[in-house]
């Protein structure tokens, strides 16, 4: 018998350890399972219908056949305009909060407001959008109103992502600049922003993927069930993929089973593509960084 032989306590401990390892692993697998099931089902049931022609042609026969081009176009338009609204505001606000504002009750209140804004249900955003953009600002039900609503909803994501990436730039760099007499703005423009841009872009791309899938905020503010025309300006209404899917699944009788699955597949592909791009981009930029 030597000093290093396994004892009963060791055996019991390693059994417990193995039990917990398995438990945690199972939970992890469970987490991946829904995503896998969704993807497999969508590809299995809708994969065949998604062709270039499907993406680029109009719906036919009361939306029971044909393609999804107006909805695809509308989603891209809504997301683009939403970005144009939310990114400048969000990034500017984050720069102010991270680089200029000192820690006072006011900035704490603003931070609290941002967190709460992120927690507001999307249907409430939708009704806010109707009141604020459709009626008060007289945008009417339009791409502009819908995009503004989406922008308000996704602002917290942009602000938080931007602020986090700004704060990940070491304080020593700012101090080095200030101590040479650089102003805050010179410091931000020359040193902080170039080093934070990867994180900011990642936040923006994540915002895109979230915006693309939203339904409630756009259905009262600018998206319509069906229109044979593409929007001519931001003051027109438009179809959108997410609403189209909702309509096909609940409102239109006699839709072939493959059609909604195909729409869902396109929608989820856009989101996954954007997310992967964001991850890849972040990895690329991180490789470039040297500190």
């Amino acid at each position: 018998m030597h000093h290093f032989a396994t004892t009963g306590i060791n055996q019991r401990n390693s059994r417990t350890q193995e039990l917990f390892r398995l438990l945690f692993m199972m939970m992890t697998v469970l987490l991946v399972l829904p995503v896998l099931i969704i993807m497999v089902t969508l590809i299995y049931k809708g994969g065949a219908i998604v062709t270039l022609d499907f993406l680029l042609s109009n719906p036919l026969d009361g939306m029971t056949a044909g393609g999804i081009f107006p909805a695809l176009f509308g989603t891209i338009g809504l997301v683009t305009v939403a970005l144009l609204v939310s990114v400048p505001i969000g990034v500017a606000a984050a720069i102010y909060l991270s680089e200029y504002a000192s820690d006072t009750w006011l900035t704490r209140l603003i931070n609290l407001a941002i967190i709460n804004l992120a927690g507001v249900p999307s249907i409430v955003h939708a009704l806010f959008g109707v009141g604020a953009f459709v009626i008060f600002f007289r945008f009417g039900t339009s791409i502009l109103a819908a995009s503004c609503t989406l922008a308000v909803m996704t602002l917290p994501v942009v602000i938080v992502a931007t602020r986090e990436s700004l704060q990940s730039v070491p304080m020593a760099f700012r101090e080095a600049c200030w101590n040479m007499g650089a102003t805050r703005w010179q410091t931000i423009r020359r040193i902080v922003l170039p080093n934070a841009i990867s994180g900011i872009l990642t936040g923006v791309i994540l915002e895109v993927s979230r915006t693309a899938g939203e339904t409630a905020p756009i259905m009262f503010t600018g998206a319509v069930f069906f229109t044979p025309f593409l929007p001519q300006s931001v003051f027109d209404q438009t179809m959108a993929l997410s609403l189209h899917l909702f309509v096909l699944s609940t409102q239109v009788p006699g839709v072939s089973e493959a059609l909604p699955y195909g729409v869902a597949l396109v929608l989820i592909s856009i989101v996954l593509l954007m997310n992967s791009a964001s991850i890849g981009f972040r990895m690329y930029l991180r490789g470039q960084k040297k500190w």
């Binding site: 101090e175 600049c177 101590n179 040479m180 650089a182 170039p194 960084k289 500190w291």
Partner: protein
């Protein structure tokens, strides 16, 4: 105010909140000399150094009384432009803090901030070469000026941090333990550099390393508990200290 002195502090008292860090500090730092400040941790030497270019003011809740004349102007006066203070009084830190841009851009950073006219490519090349020559770094880095400065060795980084102050022609260089992050070889190289620069600039250097103070400075200030105990030529302080506390500290009785 005699212009023999680059820095003249008169009755400087300094508080962090209710804690007083400096007590009636009166100091005159000679122009074109290397003056070192020694003393145990918390004696106020760094606080004084950081008051000279007013970077202490970034901390909330500080209070300062008295006057600090630099180049015959009290930098605590309300009509003093901070950007100009930072331009004329350069600072080097304990940890080298090059910016995450190229070596070349690091050198040109301060220059671009402070000069109203844009220098031509040629002028910029000259500025970069001259600054790097002056800190004895040119030969090592001349072929990789476009590499990130953060990839240099610590010694090279610290030299670069000194070099990037030179194009804006400061009069005073403040150094806060500039060698404490470096290995002995790096320390020696940076000390040599400080010695090279001392005729052109007034250098005030805070150090924990008494051998360094002895080797690399002409005058020495010993501080204890926020007060100046002794200010003499360096050799004198280390050979015949006037006060018992100075002698004790030099002999390593406390630190």
């Amino acid at each position: 105010m005699s212009s023999d002195f680059a820095i003249a502090a008169t009755n400087v008292n300094f508080w962090y909140g209710s804690f007083q860090a400096l007590f009636d500090v009166n100091l005159k730092i000679r122009r074109g000399k290397v003056t070192s400040m020694i003393g145990p941790s918390g004696c106020g030497k760094s606080t004084f150094l950081r008051s000279v270019n007013r970077i202490n003011e970034r901390i909330d809740n500080i209070r300062i009384q008295g006057s600090i004349h630099v180049l015959d102007k009290n930098i605590l006066d309300p009509d003093v432009e901070l950007v100009q203070v930072r331009k004329h009084i350069g600072m080097v830190f304990q940890r080298p803090n090059p910016l995450p841009i190229s070596i070349r851009e690091n050198i040109l950073f301060g220059y671009k901030i402070h000069m109203s006219t844009r220098a031509s490519k040629r002028q910029q090349d000259d500025i970069v070469e001259q600054a790097l020559q002056q800190v004895l770094l040119w030969d090592q880095v001349k072929d990789r000026l476009h590499h990130k400065a953060t990839g240099l060795s610590l010694e090279e980084q610290q030299k670069l941090c000194i070099a990037r102050l030179l194009p804006i022609k400061p009069s005073v260089l403040l150094m806060d333990e500039p060698c404490s992050a470096l290995d002995p070889k790096g320390t020696e190289a940076v000390e040599e550099l400080i010695w090279e620069l001392h005729n052109t600039f007034t250098i005030l250097i805070v150090t924990h390393n008494m051998a360094q103070a002895r080797r690399a400075s002409e005058e020495c200030i010993f501080m204890l508990m926020g007060k100046v105990m002794e200010h003499t030529p360096t050799q004198e302080m280390f050979v015949t200290p006037k006060k018992q506390e100075t002698a004790d500290y030099i002999e390593g009785k406390y630190g």
